[in-house]
Amino acid sequence: MSVTPWQIANVPGHIVAKKLKAEKLVEILKESAHPLLIVGKLEDYELEIAKTFINKIKEKDGTVVFTPIANKTFLEDGIKPDMILGLTEVTSKLSRGWRNVEGKESFDLLIYFGGYYYHQSQMLSAIKHYATDLKKISLNRYHQPNADYSFANPREQRWLKEMKTVLESI
């Protein structure tokens, strides 16, 4: 059964995301050899999880893109991305066929984390239509139907718990 999108009128069509849970996310992350993590504007409660998650992605030789506001957010903590690109800019590059950074293998997983809900939704739609070879997940707690997998709108505490489980397992 499909999940109601976080913004409830955001129903794109009949192909919609499957419900993401900690175990599935762990499985997807373990399967992926070259994930691309795109970090946008985050909410306060997401920051600590994000820091750890970014490090995990880096550890597995993934690529981390910060949008400009995300870069400003993590500056004081000294966390640096591989690239700084706008949310629209990076998605446009992906829709044009961009698949790897120099010297690295092709991405096999896109992870969108942050950005305004509706902006992320539009970017996931672009990937859904124009970069069909890429698996795409949304990491925020807000359900994004244009992803392949997305959380089902759990409350903050529940989402934090799920993410902690994930971080302990990867």
């Binding site: 409830i8 949008t67 629209t88 446009s92 672009a126």
Partner: protein, 780 residues
């Protein structure tokens, strides 16, 4: 192209002739032809500028982010277009996106054209065709878009009929292409959308010229009066008339009637949206409540005694909300009738009686003068009866409603801005009303939260109540819309703009669909004004520009001058006045570079794209009009940055700085193909945040033909803004350094270090053009 004249008389009797159903046609009357050499595209059809569009779209291809996966425009559907599938008519998702964008642009241009047509017909009927067109002292190019597109020099408002007919005819052609089984190519849909955008620039110019000429608005006046703005400037002790919309005609008649009756000191006339801007151009006593998001908040405050609506961006539920405060609604145009009875022929006093008795909640009156009389009489009669009845909860109700909240969160999930209403309600239950009050500036006033609430809590009312003490006292200033930029001003700054010494000209325009608050607009403008950019603004953005006070209690319009010069903040006026911003870019080409305007769209657009460091910013773009305006600016070579809500327009025009082949131009001096770098890099870009938008805007003011000194200045701002807003040195600076001389001294070391990491080589500065016909010395 001449103007066709057709006259028809039912009966004609003169001594020598008696005729019935007499009809006379004159093939063509030549209007005021512009006395200069004509370019190749008089009154262009879409196919005439298709070549230019394709050049633009090759450099800035579409990036589509579909809003939905399906098409439901015909009974073949719904058709699933996901990931390469085609609909029953054969259309694919890219073409469908282009089709919807064309539709949006057609809606946008239709609004401005219909608005302009109404003004034109109304003022011709009222004052005649011969009202002279004068756009102000020092303005010789009175109608730059009209000259560029139609090749005529209008002298009276009657001369505007011909270009208006052209716009109307072209809209029909474009709209036809949206029908099932017509166009099938995304590129061609976009070319048509660009055409609609250009028509919109023309329609807006015609509309603004009519109202400036007929109503004597400020004319290119940098010192146009400062207008009172905000909830706190309205004297609630007086009867209040509120006008909402975009068409000044009914509002102007209200003020005329007040003056005729000597009642101007006894009644407050205020307005919301562009009508407010244009009424304050007519009379500086008209007060501006604010932008579109204040419509229902202000009505619920109970202040207005009568609400007069005209057209565009008017909330569809104004009648319901006005009825709750006992204020009747007068609809004044056929575009917005709300199902009210047509009382145009009724005695004004009877209409007022109906309103006062409560039997008549609203009326349509298609007679602007009668609207003036009825609105004034209604306000006078109803004010003592209504006693400013409001629907914002009382202190007791406020607490009771908050306690009803079960924190289900449905309000948040329908809020366009995902506002954390449940959190604020929870804090309210604990006696902390600050979180609720803080939502006021973020709230778009759409009421989706209230209709979703299972407990029927008037959520927007609670937000308004929580912040009422502050909002009631809000007092700001906005400079009245001045219309055109004068030729004298263009002459004075043209060189500094083209050579890059004034780092850019920004057009900060558009609606109020901000991702955060309206404070983003004054914050953004302040950043660029203090860096000597020229800021032009209009519409809701112009109001929000004034919606902030500095430590000395001054708003930006008081802090910075109103002239078109470095650090100037220029309010051109309402939505239709956006044409004056395009007009300024066109005039730079015509006056500074002496490029011929007449029917010469491609050459002027090519000039602007490569030489005029202008960038549009529509941070809160919401409407179809905003889509067509932005698309018009794009066609004329001006890039536009929109806010994140703008991603829902579905389409961006994105350059690829890594693809050198996209940045090749002709060097007009030699005919050689030459690399110019990605300047400007994008043509339409939805930015996520101000952190992204501010450095990007600075970057999009870079042009191929900047002098080395100009490029130094632009790069210095780009580097500085990138560091301040993103926190790092920009990693793409090597794309914009053409020679060592381009490097600003303040960051020379950093840039040289950066260049050393790349295989950077100097590139020549050509005389850039995308049009081979402009090559002066063809390659042999």
């Amino acid at each position: 192209m001449g103007r066709k004249i057709k006259a028809k008389m039912g009966k004609l009797e003169i001594p020598a002739l008696r005729a019935e159903d007499f009809e006379i046609s004159i093939g063509s009357l030549v209007t005021t032809e512009l006395d200069e050499v004509s370019g190749p595209t008089p009154f262009p059809k879409v196919e005439d500028l298709r070549g230019w569009d394709f050049k633009l779209l090759k450099r800035y291809p579409m990036f589509y982010a579909p809003f939905t996966d399906s098409c439901e425009l015909c009974t073949f559907g719904k058709c699933d277009l996901t990931a390469g599938k085609r609909g029953a008519c054969g259309i694919d998702t890219s073409a469908q996106q282009g089709r919807i964008i064309l539709l949006a642009c057609c809606i946008g241009v239709s609004c401005h054209a219909a608005h302009g047509r109404h003004l034109l017909d109304y003022y011709i009927e009222k004052y005649g065709r011969n009202i002279p067109i004068s756009m102000g002292e020092g303005v010789n190019i009175e109608a730059p878009v009209t000259r560029l597109v139609c090749g005529i020099k209008p002298e009276t408002i009657g001369d505007l009929e011909e270009p208006m007919e052209y716009v109307e005819e072209q809209i029909t052609q474009l709209l036809a292409a949206v029908h099932t089984g017509q166009e099938g190519s995304a590129l061609d849909f976009e070319s048509k959308a660009l055409h609609a955008g250009m028509l919109d620039l023309l329609a807006m110019e015609l509309a603004d010229i009519v109202q400036i000429a007929a109503l004597g608005f400020p004319k290119a006046d940098p010192e146009a009066p400062l207008i009172e703005l905000g909830y706190g400037v309205i004297n609630v002790e007086k009867p209040v008339i509120l006008c909402v919309g975009h068409n000044v005609a009914p509002g102007a008649e209200i003020m005329d009637y007040l003056e005729t009756m000597g009642q101007e000191d006894n009644i407050e006339v205020c307005a919301i949206c562009c009508t407010a801007i244009d009424m304050s151009r007519y009379r500086k006593t008209a007060k501006v409540v604010g932008s579109m998001s204040h419509q229902l908040k202000f009505i619920r405050s109970g202040v207005p005694d009568v609400v007069v609506v005209d057209e565009q961006c008017i909330r569809a539920n104004i009648p319901e909300e006005a009825a709750k405060i006992g204020a009747p609604v007068i609809a004044t145009t056929a575009k917005v009738c709300y199902g009210f009875p047509d009382m145009t022929e009724e005695d004004p006093d009877k209409i007022v009686e109906g309103f006062a008795s409560g039997k008549l909640p609203g009326a349509v009156i298609f007679d602007e003068e009668k609207v003036g009389e009825v609105a004034v009489k209604t306000a006078l009669k109803l004010a003592p009866l209504r006693q400013k009845k409001k629907t914002i909860p009382s202190d007791e109700e406020f607490k009771e409603f908050i306690d009803l909240c079960i924190e289900c969160g449905r309000c948040r999930r329908v809020c366009p801005n995902d506002l954390k209403i449940p959190y604020a309600m929870k804090a309210g239950k604990e006696g902390d009303y600050e979180p609720l009050a803080k939502l006021f500036d973020h709230c778009l006033g759409c009421l989706r939260c209230e209709q979703e609430c299972p407990k029927d809590i008037p959520i927007m009312g609670l937000i308004t109540k929580a912040d009422e003490r502050r909002t009631k006292t809000l007092k700001f200033k906005m400079r009245a819309g001045r219309g055109a930029i004068s030729d004298v001003e263009i002459r004075a700054v043209g060189s500094a703009i083209v050579l890059g010494e004034i780092p850019g000209v920004l057009g900060v325009v558009g609606c109020m669909n901000y991702p955060e608050t309206e404070q983003d607009v004054p914050n953004l403008i302040r950043e660029f004004a203090r860096r000597r950019y020229i800021i032009t603004t209009s519409g809701c953005a112009a109001m929000d520009t004034g919606w902030q006070l500095n430590e000395e209690g001054q708003c930006l319009y008081e802090e910075y001058p109103g002239d078109f010069d470095a650090s100037g903040i220029v309010n051109v006026g309402s939505c239709v006045s956006n044409s004056n911003i395009a007009g300024a870019a066109i005039k730079i080409a015509a006056i500074f570079a002496r490029r011929p305007l007449k029917n010469n769209f491609e050459e002027i657009a090519d000039y602007i794209l490569h030489r005029v460091g202008a960038c549009g910013v529509a941070w809160g773009a919401m409407s179809q009009k905003a889509a067509s305006i932005a698309t018009g600016f794009n066609r004329i070579g001006v890039p536009v940055v929109i806010g994140p809500h703008g991603s829902k327009y579905r389409r961006s025009f994105m350059g690829d700085k890594d693809d050198d082949s996209k940045w090749q131009v002709f060097n007009a001096r030699t005919g050689e193909k030459t690399y110019i770098g990605p300047a400007p890099e994008h043509l339409l870009y939805p930015a996520e945040s101000l952190e992204e938008a501010v450095p990007l805007i600075a970057k999009l003011c870079i042009r191929a033909n900047d002098t080395t000194k100009g490029r130094q200045i632009k790069l210095a701002h780009y580097v500085d803004l990138h560091k301040r807003y993103i926190g790092t040195f920009p990693d793409d600076i090597h794309y914009f350094v053409r020679s060592e001389s381009d490097i600003p001294k303040t960051v020379m070391h950093e840039i040289q270090e950066h260049l050393a990491k790349f295989d950077w080589k100097p590139t020549p500065i050509p005389d850039p053009t995308l049009l081979e016909r402009l090559v002066r010395k063809p390659k042999t």
